[in-house]
């Protein structure tokens, strides 16, 4: 049956077999990707270190979340829209109660959520900020030059995940099983694409920041 004719069938397909396929591809792809990185490792470093690596590495993992004041002054729009939508996306992903239930179902861990209207507002802001990042990508000479088809694909998938979530929550697509099914479907697309595209940065960013912080930290610089 088609999606329109059988929305509940569509929802159950996305919640059942497709979810399993998506999570399997995600887990496989991500584990492969992380193994690729971590097993490559680093060559031994014989230079006398000025300081340790672990703490500076961990510090950089945290501190790179916010820009230095100079960069913020030079690229406030880029920095702000990026920060806003990332924070919004994470709030919606991790603090929306239905999502917490999903994570609890998957991994057995849970935490307190935020009131739905607050998450709803955050989601709306996230959508606006995401739209702004697209405009910025299409207009700023550097981003225009850097961007590949993959960048636009990833933007589209990310935007659609948030948009369908917003539409489903606000029940702007009817019937609801169709709306929820579309949201789950786009989220699964996101999961499937994650290990094979730059979406991997969600996980590798911690490794990259750590390597950076460790390398600078070893030389006595807080990076």
């Amino acid at each position: 049956m088609t999606t329109i004719a059988d929305p509940m069938g569509f929802l159950l397909f996305t919640k059942g077999p497709l979810f399993n396929i998506a999570i399997a591809i995600f887990a496989l792809g991500l584990a492969a990707r992380l193994a690729e990185i971590l097993l490559l490792g680093r060559r031994p470093n014989f230079a006398e270190p000025r300081a340790g690596e672990w703490l500076p590495g961990l510090r950089t993992v945290v501190t790179r979340t916010l820009p230095d004041p100079g960069t913020f002054k030079r690229a406030p729009f880029n920095v702000l829209t990026g920060l806003i939508w990332h924070v919004g996306f994470l709030v919606a992903l991790l603090l929306f109660i239905p999502h917490i239930e999903l994570i609890k179902g998957l991994f057995g861990v849970s935490w307190p959520g935020l009131p739905n209207p607050f998450v709803d507002l955050v989601t709306a802001v996230t959508l606006v900020a995401l739209a702004a990042t697209l405009v910025h990508r299409l207009t700023h000479p550097v981003k225009k030059r850097l961007s590949t088809i993959e960048d636009y694909l990833i933007w589209a998938v990310t935007f659609l995940v948030v948009l369908t979530g917003y539409l489903a929550y606000n029940r702007l697509i009817n019937p609801y099983p169709l709306a929820l099914g579309l949201h789950i479907l786009t989220a699964e697309l996101f999961l499937i694409l994650l290990p094979f595209t730059k979406l991997t940065h969600i996980f590798t960013v911690f490794i990259a920041r750590w390597y950076n912080g460790a390398s600078f930290g070893r030389r006595g610089v807080q990076s």
Binding site: A32, R33, E36, I37, L38, L40, G41, R42, R43, P44, N45, F46, A47, E48, R50, A51, T60, V61, R64, T65, P67, D68, G70, T71, R74, A75, N78, V79, G82, H140, P141, V142, K143, K144, R145, L146, S147, T148, D151, P195, F196, K198, T200, H201, T204, V205, I207, A208, R209, W210, Y211, N212, G213, S215, F216, R219, G220, V221, Q222, S223
Partner: protein, 436 residues
Amino acid sequence: MSPIANPVVNPEATAFNLERGLAAFRAEIDGPVAAFFSSCVHCGICAQSCPFYLETGDPKYTPILKLEPLRLVWESEFTLWGKIKGALGLQQRVTDAMLAEWEELIYDSCSMCGRCSMVCPVGNDIQAMVRKSREGMVAAGHAPEGLAGAAVRAVKTGSPMGLQWKTLQVQIEHVQTSSGLTVPVDQAGVDYLVMLSSMEVINFPEYLEAITKIFDHAGVTWTLSTQCFEATNAGIQIGNKDIAALLVERVVDAAVTLGVKNVISPECGHAYTAIRWEGPNLIGRRYPFRVFHIIEVMDQLRAQGRITTAGKELDRLSLHDPCNLARKSGVIQQQRNLMDLVAEQFVELPEHGRFQWCCGAGGGVSSNERAEPLKLAAFKRKKAQIEAVEPERMVTMCATCRTQLEEGLEHFNMDIPVVGLTELIADHLVDKEEPT
């Protein structure tokens, strides 16, 4: 791992080619490179940290874009996804033409200042990857002529500028005459082996006299080595570990011959990072001595109370942190401690220390004649910083930075002299005559 001469060199064949370059790129890929490329989201923030982009406005100078050849090698040969794409014929490959196009990006428009590595939101150490990319560029025959020439001269004459010991000898005699002190040469078992940079010897001869006075004042035992006086490393600048290792070995050999405990890198940025951080890895073993920058040594002496100064400079002084020394080596507070000894009015540039802006001449840009216009363009960022605080003089501690600052300020008709911090300290040592 000193370089082994290839036994089957065919003089007819081109020494460098794409395949050799790709092999060199491949040999550079490690976990951090994979993590960095996996994490880049094309946000473009690195461009906001690059003087070459900011002052030209040309997006091709975006730092991460300079790494495209290395990224392609990584993606096509080191990722499952790239291999799948390759099997489907969808994977872009590095070509000789591409490397030719990238030569300007990797050499002329990058001073390896590392500012991009400091601001990248996902933590990519872009500067380190430019260094790695240069390995592939050299092996593929796409290194700039100016850098290749410097490397050849460094290997063949012992100095990238072709400077001979006999020239230095003349200077030593001049210093001894003017200061009345002895410049120790080939003294075994002393605390410090002092290395010099050719540019310093030629452009800023006052440095040698300054350290002679300071060490005499502080009671430090030290020496120069006739076996090797050159601290700079053209192999690092061109980006070739074989040449670089050969040059590092010379320093190590000299230090070992004299049995010194410490080696002092001069007022030069890349010489310090070359010998301090890259050197042991280039030769594949730890040193039997420690390495310090002259600024570190002076600050240690200051902290030990072995440097006593009198009087202060009364004019408004500001400080340029060399990238290699500050951001890339963590020597940031030391020069400020020393400035406090001798400066009445010290003003910081708006962004300094680890977030300072490059003068535009590092990373081999100054040895690459072709890059002259870009070098001058990048300097405008420094110029704007200097204009913001309006100092009467600039102080720095790297011969390359100092030359660039002098030339740049002169180009823009700004009457701001540049002085080396070591000389400034030497000028204020007690129980010495007024400087001439």
